[in-house]
């Protein structure tokens, strides 16, 4: 089949120049490929750890929105910070002036202030993106003493991510679900999950109505097959159009992402999504520090706040670093395939060209970049 033949889907994939150094060029038909270079971002972690531990040992368990707003402090610090904030609020001075004595308190207040009134990530220049990421990393350091690495890596040229799901292979083990939760720092209390595995009865076809997406028994169950759903990263995403503040958008590599700090929490996108792809933080998300994934991306798995939307980002922190999403890597059956749709040698392209693929609810015109196929 020619590379220019696009009859299996209407995305205009070949419009741009093809690139050989792709995300996933291993050519294997199933499973996660191991041909990636893992970029390690080790910094002077140990030094900082010791230093910050000495200064603020107790506050290390905080995460999420707490990083910024619920800092444990004695009355004196509290008053200092309050005074500082008030003074800034009045527009009288910036916190960097020596209103208060403690360097760290000053820095925290400065960061909080700048974070509260920063702009929309989508519209930021690269320096501004780096600025907010540095602030968040520093803020986390000040609060917990732990160093996180947070990336603000933009979409690469000639990359368009796509995903395929082999219905014949999936056995419903849900390893992908756990890997996803661990990778993406999802709230443990509400047991938020991006992926839903639907257990369907053989002989009934794709009958979602009678499927069970919340099973607790040994799998694979006799007479059943399994089908996973998550955010499909539509090329024409209804959720993006409806957002009143453009807090969610489609990146150039096809990922539909959210700026958690810009979201106002109206949940209009949730009503607009035909695929149940979006989740809301009904209360403050919490992840135990020991389970925290410190390798983060601004648009991906950094800690969310209370009252904002979140969703699958195809693990932007991994995919833009040349790795497979956590669900693909965790799948023991090789039912999940991920890669660059613009790379003719990628596995995903092989699947799309050689298998009989289909997508869910195609009549809605959303153009998902998530295909299903069978052996």
């Amino acid at each position: 089949m020619s590379n220019n033949n696009k009859k299996w889907f209407s995305l205009n994939l070949n419009s741009r120049k093809k690139q050989t150094s792709s995300t996933c060029g291993c050519g294997k038909t199933s499973g996660g490929c191991n041909s990636h270079t893992v970029s390690t971002q080790m910094s002077d972690e140990e030094f900082l750890e010791a230093a910050v531990d000495a200064s603020i040992g107790e506050e290390r368990k905080k995460d999420g929105f707490d990083q910024v707003f619920e800092v444990k402090m004695d009355r004196r610090t509290a008053f200092k910070q309050l005074t500082a904030s008030l003074l800034i609020g009045a527009g009288a001075v910036s916190t960097s002036c020596s209103v208060v004595s403690g360097e760290e308190t000053k820095e925290k207040a400065q960061i909080d202030w700048e974070e509260q009134f920063k702009g929309n990530y989508k519209l930021m220049s690269d320096e501004e993106k780096k600025g907010t990421v540095d602030r968040l990393v520093r803020s986390y350091q000040l609060r917990t003493g732990k160093t996180i690495s947070m990336s603000s890596k933009n979409a690469e040229e000639d990359v368009l991510f796509g995903y395929a799901f082999n219905i014949s292979k999936c056995q419903g083990y849900m390893d992908c679900v756990s890997a996803c939760v661990e990778e993406n720092n999802q709230d443990r209390n509400s047991q938020m999950q991006y992926i839903r595995i639907h257990e369907m009865k053989d002989g009934k076809g794709f009958n979602f109505n009678e499927a069970d997406d919340n099973y607790y028994h040994e799998v694979p169950a006799e007479g059943h097959f399994y089908m996973g759903t998550q955010c499909f990263h539509c090329d024409n995403p209804p959720c993006v159009d409806v957002c009143p503040v453009q807090a969610t958008w489609r990146e150039d590599d096809g990922l539909v992402v959210i700026d958690y700090d810009w979201c106002v929490g109206c949940r209009y996108c949730m009503a607009a999504c035909p695929y149940d792809g979006r989740r809301f933080n009904w209360s403050k998300p919490e992840v135990p520090e020991a389970e925290m994934n410190h390798n983060q991306h601004y648009l991906g798995n950094r800690m969310r706040k209370k009252g904002v939307m979140e969703k699958c980002t195809f693990c932007v922190q991994r995919s833009r670093a040349g790795k497979n999403p956590a669900c693909v890597e965790a799948c023991p059956t090789g039912a999940r395939v991920f890669g660059n749709l613009l790379d003719p040698n990628s596995t995903i392209r092989w699947v799309l060209e050689n298998k009989k693929v289909f997508r869910l609810k195609e009549d809605l015109g959303t153009e998902p970049k998530f295909w299903y196929y069978m052996d």
Binding site: F208, D213, P238, V242, V245, A247, C263, A271, D276, G307
Partner: protein, 406 residues
């Protein structure tokens, strides 16, 4: 300069007016304040804990707040049914009712905005939505359209009555050349606010229950029934408790408006039911859930059947001239019609949109106590705002409140 002095005096006089009144008035205001305080307490819990204190979940992500918002947009839009005959068609009968209607619209709009803010996950970053400072996703997002039309309508409904009352306060006649263009504009605007609010839901291909061409027109019909019905009830109360004279003729004319709107609404309901149940498709499941329940989940059944029976009963009563012209029966009919449409356009519309979910999952929704507390608090806020506006307006209109006439 002189105008400013008159304005300052008006503010002072109205403050004086709203703080003085009969014992019943004080009890009423104290009661509303108490309910508002309870609502604020509930809201403080919600702010602290997050929206998890409400009954909403990832499966049913809009509930009581958005339901009430939707309904109240209709009430606000209905003020137009009084504005049009008075200012545009020059039908004098409505003139006194119109100020009340516009006051009602202002109160309803304030409640709408309060409900939207209560529903937000991050009210502290709502400035992101202010054009200029934030990012306003216009014209793509229907929510931004809604923000524009609601605030515009609020401005119109504050400025027109304010101009008229301000003139009357000084003992002058208001100049029709000033307010008639505004009144005509508000007629179109009122249709706009309700249509845009309907489009908010209608435009979602993900929710077949809402993605329905009749939704907008039916919003209008039900709004023009429920809104004037509420105005009739309010006028009845004002007639009893104040010296503001409202002729029977006025009320009967408004009743005519309610009747026609209720009849059209019923026809549209039949059309909707026919489409959903004559040849049911996969997309009729939400309607099945609403009217008959699905897989043993029947939470909305008592509500919707109450609404339908009240709706039919009210429409039948209103249709017969003899019954409608009996004011006692009319008030009863208006009351049950109002309740019926509140249920139907409230969570009879919003909740089934989410049930069953995109993959057929049925998770039901029940509001929590905190959610109900906040809702009642916002209704009390609306009632308080309306009482204040109406009391001042009535005092000016009856000639008791005049500049330098102290």
């Amino acid at each position: 300069m002189r105008r400013l002095r008159v304005f300052a005096s008006l503010v002072k006089d109205s403050l004086d007016t709203i703080t003085h009144g009969s014992k019943k008035y004080h009890i009423w205001m104290a009661f509303l304040t108490f309910v508002m305080l309870v609502g604020m307490y509930c809201y403080s819990i919600q702010l602290d804990e997050g929206l998890s204190v409400t009954g909403m979940t990832d499966r049913v992500s809009w509930g009581l707040y958005i339901s009430n918002f939707t309904f109240l947009v209709g009430v606000a839009a209905a003020a137009v049914m009084l504005v049009m005959p008075t200012y545009v068609l020059k039908d004098i009968d409505f003139k006194q009712a119109v100020l009340i209607g516009e006051g009602l619209a202002v109160a309803a709009l304030i409640m709408c905005l309060a409900f939207v803010v209560a529903d937000m996950g991050g009210p502290s970053v709502l400035w992101h939505m202010i054009p200029g400072i934030g990012v306003f996703n216009f014209p793509n997002s229907m929510l931004t359209w809604d923000v524009l039309v609601l605030n515009g309508y609020l401005f119109l409904n504050i400025s027109i009555p304010f101009y008229i009352l301000f003139r009357h306060y000084q003992g002058k006649e208001s100049n029709p050349k000033v307010y008639i263009p505004g009144a005509i504009l508000s007629v179109f605007w009122a249709v706009g606010i309700h249509l845009v609010t309907a489009f908010l839901y209608q435009g979602l291909q993900a929710r077949p229950f809402w993605n329905n061409a009749l939704l907008g027109p039916r919003f209008l019909a039900s709004a023009f029934a429920a809104g004037p019905a509420l105005i009739i009830l309010v006028l009845a109360i004002i007639r009893t408790f104040t010296e503001f004279k409202i002729k029977d003729k006025t009320i009967k004319k408004i009743a005519m408006v309610v009747t026609v709107a209720a009849q059209i609404n019923l026809i549209m309901l039949i059309s909707e039911l026919f489409k959903e149940f004559y040849a049911p498709t996969h997309h009729s499941e939400s309607a099945y859930y609403l009217f008959f329940g699905l897989h043993g989940k029947t939470a909305l059944l008592p509500w919707i059947w109450t609404a339908i029976s009240l709706n039919v009963l009210a429409t039948v009563i209103l249709t017969f001239h003899k019954l409608r012209n009996n004011l006692k029966v009319l008030y009863f009919a208006c009351f049950i019609l109002f309740v019926a449409i509140w249920i139907e356009k409230g969570f009879g519309l919003i909740v089934p949109g989410f049930i069953p979910g995109p993959y057929g999952k049925i998770v039901e929704y029940t509001p929590t106590g905190i959610e109900i507390g906040v809702t009642l608090g916002i209704w009390a806020l609306g009632a308080l705002v309306f009482t204040i506006l109406a009391k001042t307006a009535i005092k000016i209109e009856t000639g008791k409140l005049r500049y330098k006439k102290k």
